[in-house]
Amino acid sequence: MAKARVARAAASRQSDQLSREQKLQLYYWMRLTRQLEERLVNLYRQTKVVGGLFRSLGQEADAVGSCFALEQRDVMSPLIRNLGAMLVKGATPVEVLKQYMAKADSPTRGRELNIHFGDIGEAGTTRGFLGQISPLGDMIPVMAGVTLSFKMRGEDRVGLVYIGDGATSTGAFHEGINFAAVQKCPLVVIVENNGYAYSTPTHKQTAAKQFVDKAIGYGVYGLQADGNDVLAVYDVTKEAVDRARRGDGVTLIELMTYRRKGHAEHDNQSYVPPGEIEKWAAESDPLDRYLRVIRDELNATDDEIAAIDARVLREIDEATDIADASSTPKALDALIGVYADPAVEQPLWFRRDAGDAEYGTERPEGWGTWSADGGKR
């Protein structure tokens, strides 16, 4: 009977090959992720974030450590809690801030929310990340297709796709990983087990003892690691990426982590048992843990760490100023680009004389309430 392999601390680790500078970069990316989200919280409270805000507090190691195992030419598709992976792959804080603030020159020009944006295509000219959509699980089949194209064209490229514990229950996950396994696509599937899908705990999502066990059913290689240990995350992902690059097909990785914030900023986490969040924060914060590693093993000084923290803050301040100064989209740009041909949709007849300025200023607090006869109160 096959058993899923579970990664343990081995004598020689993939991360041993990383330079001191690279290991400090891991800290930089995790700090940048956390700090950028802190900035977004401020902007959210100032109502400058148009929609919801999604945090990855406590999961920074999982996103950063895994994506750090990719090459520039590889393609990654993140989830909402993989801001860190996006940044590692080349998304900039300015882009992220403009997205959240729905700016005209944001990567999606105000069409999509938060980190739902991407940059994929030819190796070398694109950064290699593909924005997710909200129906969860869908990116698994799509990334199966992206990596199928690598295989068909003989390109030396690998794909990495993230999925949460909740979305492993979708049909798209099942069909996608099975398809990729059969086709031996060079694809790494990371299941982030952070304990909750919105409010639903993992035990209501699956009867499986652990998600890595699902690898057996699909006939793929399985790995599991402590998702809050950035080097352990790097180790398992690098192993999986190397396997994919060698032509050994799909690997399913389960990363054990914990979601310390709610599904989104509005979520008060009333469903979480008392003390659970605090325990994870005190005992397994990925940044605190990694700071101990870089102090103890890399002999990083307080000055070195402070310099990285200062750089992060400076970059975010600069990005915030740029994003804040950007304008919002012109209303009529809504008509552009549903199809390649026709490139522009015609306005509806009752909008033919409408101008840009008439739209986009209505705010929820101005809506008021209506009485039964339609009169506004």
Binding site: T108, R111, E112, H116, F117, G118, I120, G121, L130, G131, I133, S134, P135, D138, I140, P141, V142, M143, A144, G145, V146, T147, L148, S149, F150, M152, G171, A172, E175, G176, N178, F179, V182, Q183, G337, V338, Y339, A340, D341, P342, W349
Partner: protein
């Protein structure tokens, strides 16, 4: 000149009459030979050549890399096609029966249809499959789910009625830079045939075709119902002296409004005919467009002849009762002509 046996799959460049099915196959052969990025993906399409043999011979000619037998996974094959399309490939996905496209509804409507608008992601792909009734296929091998997709911006929908249009539209669909849902009417697969136009025969997406000229009443229709309309038009001309114009839409999205308005303004009486069920169907949409734009030209209310709002049953008497028949079209046109 290539000599063909009767059972051999048609390679490119047939000279004699070929069927609707062979015309689609010929388009696939020609496009795969023309463009290395075109590949086929679907259930039982390779070694078996597809449930209806549309893809027969493709595997032998183009190999397993480009003719991929997939697991039974409509979500995965549509999603994988989208991912490959983002990277510059041009996948042609087969739904073994178009009824099963419902399994990929999320992937098509949420992912594929929005890709260009929300993320500037090109998604040039074709989803094709045997559709429609009159074949005693029962509830799950007879459906016409096109209206369910007409509602979604970002998808193109074609549904040809002739062999030449089937070939020309398939070639256009494969070359289109967006996702095209290509409905093939299985009743027509082996029932209609013609000689293909010479050369690189491409029929532009978005253009209707006047299948029969007339002056008294217009029938706007598509797919197998086009043939019902033509048969009815013959009877109406010979037995009742009513001259019927038949407009075959060919493409449902984007719809050729100009062609519809032109025929309405010519005859002033409109019957919309389709095989799909009535409520929420395409006929309702066409009726609304004509009402908004051609009200002054209408001498009669726009009428619809469609299937009843009933899952398609298996027994011949039941299926024939539910689906629109020639006699229904004759009755409706006579009612219109009486205004």
């Amino acid at each position: 000149m290539v000599t063909k046996t009767k059972t051999a799959p048609s390679p490119a460049g047939s000279t004699g009459e070929i069927t609707y099915l062979e015309a689609i196959r010929e388009a696939l052969f020609e496009e795969m030979a023309r463009d290395q990025n075109v590949f086929c993906l679907g259930e039982d399409i390779g070694a078996f050549g597809g449930a209806f043999k549309v893809t027969e011979g493709l595997l032998a000619k183009f190999g397993e890399q480009r003719v991929i037998d997939s697991p039974i996974s409509e979500i995965a094959i549509v999603g994988a096609a989208a991912g490959a399309a983002h990277m510059g490939m041009r996948p042609v996905v087969e739904m073994q029966f178009i009824d099963f496209i419902a399994n990929a509804y999320d992937m098509l409507t949420n992912y594929v249809a929005t890709a260009r608008y929300r993320a500037f992601l090109p998604c040039p792909m074709v989803v094709r499959g045997p559709s429609g009734g009159y074949v005693r296929g029962g509830p799950f091998h007879s459906q016409n789910p096109e209206a369910g997709f007409l509602h979604t911006p970002g998808l193109k929908i074609v549904y040809p009625s002739t062999a030449a249009d089937a070939k020309g539209l398939m070639k256009a669909a494969i070359r289109d830079d967006d996702c095209v849902l290509f409905f093939e009417h299985k009743y027509l697969y082996r029932r209609v045939k013609e000689v293909m136009p010479r050369g690189d025969h491409v029929v532009p997406i978005g253009q209707a075709r006047v299948a029969r000229e007339g002056t008294d009443v217009s029938i706007v229709t598509y797919a197998a119902a086009t043939w019902k309309a033509l048969e009815a038009a013959e009877i109406l001309a010979s037995e009742y002296g009513i001259s019927v114009e038949v407009l075959d839409l060919r493409t449902l999205a984007p719809m050729d409004d100009e062609a519809i308005f032109r025929t309405v303004k010519k005859t002033n009486r409109l019957l919309v005919l389709h095989e799909d069920t009535r409520t929420g169907g395409i006929a309702g949409e066409i009726t609304a467009r004509v009402s908004e734009t051609c009200f002054e030209w209408l001498d009669a209310p726009v009428l619809r002849v469609t299937a009843a709002d009933i899952p398609l049953p298996y027994a011949p008497a039941l299926e024939d009762y539910v689906l629109p028949q020639v006699a229904d079209v004759v009755r409706a046109v006579r009612r219109l002509a009486a205004y």
